[in-house]
């Protein structure tokens, strides 16, 4: 059933970057994110945060969460330290209200920046 627009949860989209030795699969990253969030805030906190992995390509990705719990989601993302024994480090590039905004403002900007050191 359709939810009235005024009654919908307000959302935020967090663009993030993963640094790791090997590529982490989408499923593994989702598991780590949920593990980390559950370990920090418990089941109640997770239901309030409602984190969802929207897109992920092995390096950059977007996570959706509720507007009031962005700081908690950021902490949960930062607390991911390994995935199946591979150490990883994550950084939130920026927060936006739309997927388009998160992609254009943060991820595409990083992709444009990246090739520079290779040319030098």
């Amino acid at each position: 059933m359709r939810i009235l627009p005024v009654l919908r949860d307000k959302k935020r989209y967090l663009a993030f970057e993963v640094t790791s030795g090997q590529k982490i699969k989408r499923r593994e990253f989702t598991n780590e994110l949920h593990d980390s969030a559950r370990s920090l805030f418990g089941d109640t906190g997770l239901s309030e945060m409602n984190p969802h992995l929207i897109s992920y390509d092995g390096k950059y990705g977007i996570i959706r969460c509720t507007r009031d719990r962005t700081e908690e989601t950021r902490a949960a993302i930062a607390c991911i330290n390994n995935s199946g024994g591979i150490p990883i480090s994550t950084r939130v590039l920026g927060i936006s209200g739309t997927i388009k905004g998160a992609t254009e403002k943060f991820i595409q900007k990083m992709l444009v920046k990246e090739p520079e050191p290779e040319n030098k």
Binding site: T19, R74, A75, A78, N81, N82, P87, S89, T90, R91
Partner: protein
């Protein structure tokens, strides 16, 4: 100006001595995350390391001391000439007491048993209390609960006695480092505000470096 538009420093970084690329790698990652400098604990920096450092990135030398409380004073005196920053890894009550009573010390990292007496001495000797965010990232379950409890209690003393505080990732590899905003988000788990966290990574480290400059005499007095 935003709270996170400053120069940030991470003062406790432990690069592994075996890995040759460890120091430039850590420096590059830290620079990418928005830090302007870091302090290496008990590490010799070779010439090749300094050549490979990114521009506008400063490296400081720190001495990390963990010993018995009877030897602490002599250890601090021994290391204070060669190093920029003196750090004591917090331990039991007696060690923490000996540490806060020594004026030459800069940072007491994650003191486990800390009370109002310690806090008063720390205030008199202007000793910074270090919060080890890395322990929250690496640990899970019971261990993390203990660390969070310790940090929440230490934060009460920091506020009550107006002590300087510092946040550090206590990183050994590039995967242990976190960007300043992430550090602030994790610090909010034990009740630290964004402003306090931002100050703990930018203002307090700069204050510590200021006390090390040659013109500095004591708090409030400076040779012009």
């Amino acid at each position: 100006m935003s709270l996170f538009d400053r120069n940030f420093y991470d003062f406790i970084v432990n690069p592994s001595p075996e890995d040759k690329d460890s120091i430039p790698g850590l420096a590059q990652q830290a620079k990418k995350y928005g830090y302007s400098g870091m302090a290496l604990v008990n590490t010799q920096v070779t010439e090749t390391d300094t050549e490979n450092l990114p521009p506008d990135f400063s490296i400081y030398h720190a001495a990390g001391i963990s010993c018995k409380q009877t030897k602490l004073r002599s250890e601090i005196q021994k290391h204070s000439k060669k190093n920029d920053i003196i750090i004591v890894m917090g331990g039991d009550e007696l060690l923490n007491r000996a540490a806060v009573e020594t004026p030459g010390l800069d940072i007491l990292l994650q003191p486990g048993e800390f009370n109002h007496v310690h806090a008063r001495f720390a205030h008199d000797n202007s000793i910074t209390i270090g919060f080890d965010i890395g322990s929250l990232i690496r640990n899970r379950g019971d261990a993390r609960i203990r660390e969070l409890t310790t940090m929440r209690r230490n934060l009460i003393y920091v506020r009550k006695y107006d002590l300087p505080a510092i946040l550090t990732a206590n990183a050994a590899t590039i995967y242990d480092l976190r960007a300043p905003r992430e550090m602030a988000a994790i610090a909010s788990l034990f009740g630290m505000t964004q402003k306090e966290a931002s100050d703990a990574m930018s203002t307090t480290p700069l204050e510590i470096l200021k006390t090390k400059s040659q013109d500095y005499v004591q708090n409030g007095i400076e040779v012009l």
